[in-house]
Symmetry: C2
């Protein structure tokens, strides 16, 4: 059977094939960049029209009492099952970067008298920038350690470690329970960055006893460009979570307008300022696509898409330098000296992935809308560019 026939058959038999119709994706594109910006679910545009026209336009300020004010926790509870969290531990709002700051400063306060923050040496850069800033303000030192060396590097001097669940360049999936356990055995807290795993692979936050986590909603959760991030605080820490961006929206009595800060009950104290409603309710609508699928189904198809893509590369581009290891998220990365120019060419040919310095092509496999035919086409176009 040719690869084309095989792709057609895989797409025909794909139990998630019907989900693609819930997204507004150009059928002529192979969109393999959902690990950077998820495609728009069709429900987002009408929801935004309703939020602007009805809730904002007709109800005006009254909408704050009619669903807006509670949206950050309500939507957090919709994300919770996708990251293995029981209700009441996830809040939505602010950017990933801002939430990393909250998690890191609060994290070192939960584990005092330990001078060191361990940082995933291959982290997405913003985590490192913010770790350095938090360390500067709290008197800690940041030490960069490859994830595979975390277990030997952690010590009684370590307050916490910040680790990326999926490496943003290579797509490697780290073993969250094993690394968390190693950190805990030395008395350190585990803070996970889920940007490239939330909505792509199962994330066992509660089961693994993760302390704090931060994730993005505009990649595999399709919330829209720059959509609000989420913050997870494990139940055991909720009462003592003492975060530095202690704004009025996280106050125990926000409309009491009292001069002193008192953090609200539960995950609400993870909030900072006025919730950004337009973006938050766009995300709310985007999450509807998860109502009838599980993260396990998405993971299974993501892995199958990856296997098929690797076979296509083996056959069509046998010298392709695949840098993604066997343990991976929903992303395949290929190293090429001319990666930046190559990606420009691929995009011109209708295969949209992206490029990360110095020389990596990334292909995201967002299983809710990516077709087997899309990954075959990516391999075919790569061959054409050899």
């Amino acid at each position: 059977m040719s690869l084309r026939d095989e792709a057609a058959e895989l797409d025909m038999r794909d139990p998630l094939a019907g989900k693609r119709a819930e997204f507004d994706v150009d059928p002529d594109l192979s969109y393999l960049d959902g690990n950077s910006l998820g495609a728009p679910p069709r429900g987002v545009a009408p929801r935004l029209a309703e939020v602007v026209g009805e809730q904002w336009g007709r109800r005006l300020i009254r909408s704050w009492d009619e669903g807006w004010w509670d949206a950050p926790e309500r939507i957090g509870d919709r994300i919770a099952p996708l990251v293995g969290a029981a209700p009441g531990q996830v809040v939505v709002g602010d950017s990933t970067t801002v939430n990393l700051f909250k998690a890191l400063v609060a994290g070192v306060r939960l584990n005092p008298d330990r001078p060191e923050i361990l940082l995933d040496a291959a982290t997405f850069p913003t985590d490192g920038y913010i770790a350095e800033s938090a360390a500067r303000l709290t008197g800690h030192r940041v030490r960069r350690v490859p994830v595979r060396e975390m277990a030997s590097a952690v010590s009684s001097r370590t307050a916490l470690a910040l680790v990326n669940h999926v490496d943003y360049v290579t797509g490697e999936l780290h073993d969250l329970p094993v690394v968390t356990e190693a950190l805990h055995s030395a008395g350190a807290l585990a803070v996970w960055d889920l940007c490239h795993s939330a909505g792509a692979v199962p994330v066992p936050l509660d089961a693994a006893g993760v302390d704090l986590a931060v994730g993005c909603t505009y990649k595999f959760l399709n919330g829209g460009p720059g959509a609000p991030a989420f913050l997870y605080v494990a139940r055991k820490w909720l009462d003592v979570f003492d975060q530095p961006l202690s704004g009025w929206a996280g106050h125990a009595d926000p409309f009491g307008m009292t001069p002193s800060y008192a953090g609200g009950t539960g995950i609400r104290r993870g909030r900072t300022g006025t919730p950004d409603i337009l973006s938050m309710l766009a995300l709310d609508a985007a999450l509807d696509v998860w109502d009838d699928v599980t993260i396990d189904q998405v993971r299974a198809k993501g892995l199958a898409l990856g296997e098929f893509f690797l076979r296509c590369l083996d056959e069509l581009v046998p010298d392709a330098d695949v840098v993604t290891p066997r343990s991976r998220g929903n992303q395949i990365s290929v190293r090429r000296p001319d990666a930046k120019a190559t990606m420009g060419e691929l995009i011109a040919r209708g295969v949209i992935g992206d490029y990360r310095p110095p020389d990596v092509l990334r292909f995201g496999l967002a299983a809710l809308y990516v077709r087997y035919a899309d990954v075959l086409r990516a391999a075919e176009e790569l061959r054409a560019l050899r």
Copy 2:
């Protein structure tokens, strides 16, 4: 002439009367809460539909290079003339609270070896919560001082003062140039919260030599519920502005993905995480209503609305306890023991203002869409509730 005839004539002669048609406001409501949530400009809904359908849906990730990435500074430059700032000093993004944290920590770093932060004693609470948090992290002490005593309280121990331009409860407008000058004469920096003045009154940031400022866009700038805030950094500080939420979007080379942070050139270093595009471009559309009006025209009508409202109160509710002083923003506040219940009644009767503890009714006079008939109606309904 009766008050009703007078209101009708004032509305007929109002040079800004035509602007109301650019907003989607229920004609049967007297909406006097634009100081809390501005009404939706009609351009927002179609713009959001275009951003979701065309920019996100069709162009996908390519839109970052086609206007999204530069939006925070481009939209900042649209707000700049409304707050008396030359281009290149205003950036949009994050919440007011998050920007206050940036401004305060960066502010004390600009003025080292001074242990004290002065805080407007009547400040909106989030400013105080964040000042305390920033002070805790940087080793400063917060001292709360009424604005009228700032000039005598500031000393060589003062790193900076954080002052609200318009008092959120009483509507009092503080003298920004005079207070700034007093702070500067003691070597302290002036950090202004413009939440209740941006879009309501002229704000002479550059002319007064203000150092840093933060403002809100969902009140008199009509950006939508929880719309992104803005941060102003005076040109003289741009090169040395060293802010704690130093995320990847403010990096000099964000897509270089380098491990160390280096703040970008100019106001861009005020950014933190990925710009929140849906909310930001909703704000962009909302700002179109300013294309053919000046802040001076809006201020003139705001004052006239206030004068007329005060006359209506004098005549219809002579015992009304107006707490707004002569120097005011675009807001009139009335103290009543039963303020919370009274506001509920007013809203049920179609007059929407709001309530602030313990006993204040607030009436916002957003001059782009509030009619003289609206403020007369508020006075009439207040009389009916006596």
